[in-house]
């Protein structure tokens, strides 16, 4: 396999001694789509900030390929009301020619908003603008922090499809955070379940059966996700507990995982 675009080795981030991210190992290659899921406060945003270099790590190393162009889509685009700014000007600040900016906006479905004031855009339009802004720079690695925020349910599926298509067009790696578990499970290549440390990681079909995943998200979520893949390879007792599991490819666990695996 070629060298990874970015490699995290044993990365920990602590704020005033309080751990936010612990001992994470992760490599993203061209063509990968990783989705990070996890409960609130699990360190998802901290982890991707460490990955793009916005957050200093307390321990471990972050190696980015030389000359790596990162397309970053932050959680939100909140512009001071005192700053007049329209979509075209914001795109032009990427340093790319106008034709490219226009194409990127059209690609994310908001080509008609070129002259619109950013303050007037809806949440979904802002997310598409941020995606266009990231993509106009022809990134090697696309990093998205909850890209589907403020997007309605139909739009979310379209957005995740678009991200997949962009991965193919740009031949880039993708790593994103998402709360839309159902869509993630249906659309992503590999899922990382984070709760400060990597609880479990693997292919969506496998991970939804993983005890660590069930610990984190509860049975009802895990079951409803499993349905998506129609892999009924476990059963439940009267209390709903998983009594047996025979996943073909067991999900990989983080080295520092100490869940009770029954």
């Amino acid at each position: 396999m070629t060298d990874p675009l970015v490699r995290l080795e044993n990365v920990s981030v602590r704020f005033d001694g309080r751990p936010a991210v612990q001992h994470v190992n992760l490599s993203v290659h061209r063509g990968d789509i990783f989705t990070i899921i996890g409960p609130n406060g699990a360190g998802k945003t901290t982890l991707i900030k460490a990955l793009v270099g916005l957050q200093a790590v307390t321990e471990g190393t972050v190696e980015r390929a030389p000359g790596l162009v990162i397309g970053y889509v932050p959680q939100q685009l909140q512009i001071e009301p005192t700053l007049p700014l329209h979509v075209g000007r914001f795109m032009a600040l990427s340093g790319q020619p106008e034709a490219e900016c226009r194409r990127a906006l059209e690609r994310t479905g908001i080509g008609h908003l070129m002259a619109s004031e950013i303050h007037h855009l809806s949440g979904g339009e802002r997310q598409r603008l941020l995606l266009a802004r990231a993509l106009v720079r022809r990134p090697d690695l696309l990093v998205l922090d909850e890209p589907a925020q403020g997007v309605d349910i139909n739009g979310q599926a379209a957005l995740y499809n678009l991200i997949r298509e962009l991965r193919d067009e740009l031949n880039c790696g993708v790593i994103m955070i998402s709360h839309d578990l159902h869509l993630v499970m249906a659309a992503t290549d590999k899922v990382i379940c984070l709760n400060q440390h990597v609880c479990c990681s693997g292919f969506p079909a496998d991970i939804s059966h993983d005890p660590a995943f069930i610990d984190t998200f509860g049975h009802s979520v895990a079951e409803s996700l499993a349905v998506y893949h129609h892999h009924h390879n476990h059963s439940h007792d009267l209390h709903g507990d998983v009594v047996s599991r025979k996943a073909a490819e067991p999900a990989a666990h983080g080295a520092h995982c100490n869940h009770d695996h029954h």
Partner: protein, 269 residues
């Protein structure tokens, strides 16, 4: 005697030229103050200018230089202290602003041989502008404008979204430092005109007025310069005919333009 000489020999024209030079840089920098919510920060730097003057007398430095040095040191202290988050930023600014002003006044009182026009320092003495002051203003303005043109996109990008700018490789910290230096420079040269207590007004009011009419950041900058020039011209005229203090008259004119704009126009965007 040439026309230029006769213009420069007239205190009114010197005041006007100096004021316009300051408006030229107060426009763009004022926009950044408004965009980045740095109004109180600018005020704190301005208050510290008096300490700069006191120290200049103490160490017999040129006034402008002393003011600049104190402003820069204070800006650096503020940036590093606000990172520790031990106190809320506005509390920190409040402490430093008034302490710097008070220390400046106390230090001045220890030097009875130095006769300082305190009113002039606090509220400005635009009409006492010398040829040398004009030189300082246009030198400072030239440097600031060149820097702004060269660094514009990076400054704007880091103002819009600091994290996005950082990921895209904009040297956000360096630009913040350059912006602080430019503020210090402008405060040092503008102090003479409007005084330490009114400098922030000259930065903020024209920019806020321009916001009402502007469609793009650059448009807002040019409008802010125009409103600044209007305030200087109007204020000096007011001062000339009604014998009012020049600095406050400039600020009052800027405020009237602000009220008029907000009263008569609809928001552009």
């Amino acid at each position: 005697m040439t026309i230029i000489d006769s213009v420069l020999n007239d205190f009114f024209w010197r005041a006007l030229l100096g004021g316009l030079g300051i408006a030229l840089v107060a426009g763009p920098l004022g926009c950044f103050v408004v965009w980045r919510r740095m109004a109180y920060f600018g005020d704190t730097l301005a208050h510290s200018a008096l300490l700069g003057i006191a120290l200049s007398f103490l160490f017999s430095l040129p006034l402008n230089l002393g003011v600049m040095i104190v402003c820069i040191v204070l800006a650096l202290v503020l940036v590093s202290l606000s990172r520790t988050r031990a106190l809320a930023t506005d509390t920190l600014l409040g402490i430093l602003a008034h302490s710097a002003l008070a220390i400046g006044l106390v230090v001045l009182s220890f030097m009875p041989h130095v006769r300082v026009d305190l009113t002039g320092l606090l509220f400005g003495d635009l009409l006492a502008m010398s040829r040398q002051d004009l030189l300082w203003i246009y030198l400072g303005a030239g440097i600031v404008i060149l820097l702004l043109i060269k660094l514009w996109d990076g400054l704007l990008m880091s103002t819009i979204h600091e994290e996005l700018a950082r990921v895209e490789g904009v040297p956000v910290e360096k630009l913040r430092l350059v912006l602080m230096l430019m503020f210090s420079l402008v405060i040092a040269v503008a102090m003479k005109m409007v005084g330490v207590l009114l400098i922030t007004a000259l930065l903020i009011i024209p920019a806020a007025t321009a916001r009402r009419l502007a469609r793009t950041p650059e448009h807002m900058v040019f409008l802010a310069i125009a409103f600044g020039c209007l305030a200087v011209g109007g204020g000096l005229t007011l001062s000339w005919y009604l014998d009012t203090p020049a600095g406050p008259s400039v600020v009052v004119t800027a405020f009237l333009a602000f009220l008029f704009t907000y009263g008569t126009t609809r928001k552009a965007a």
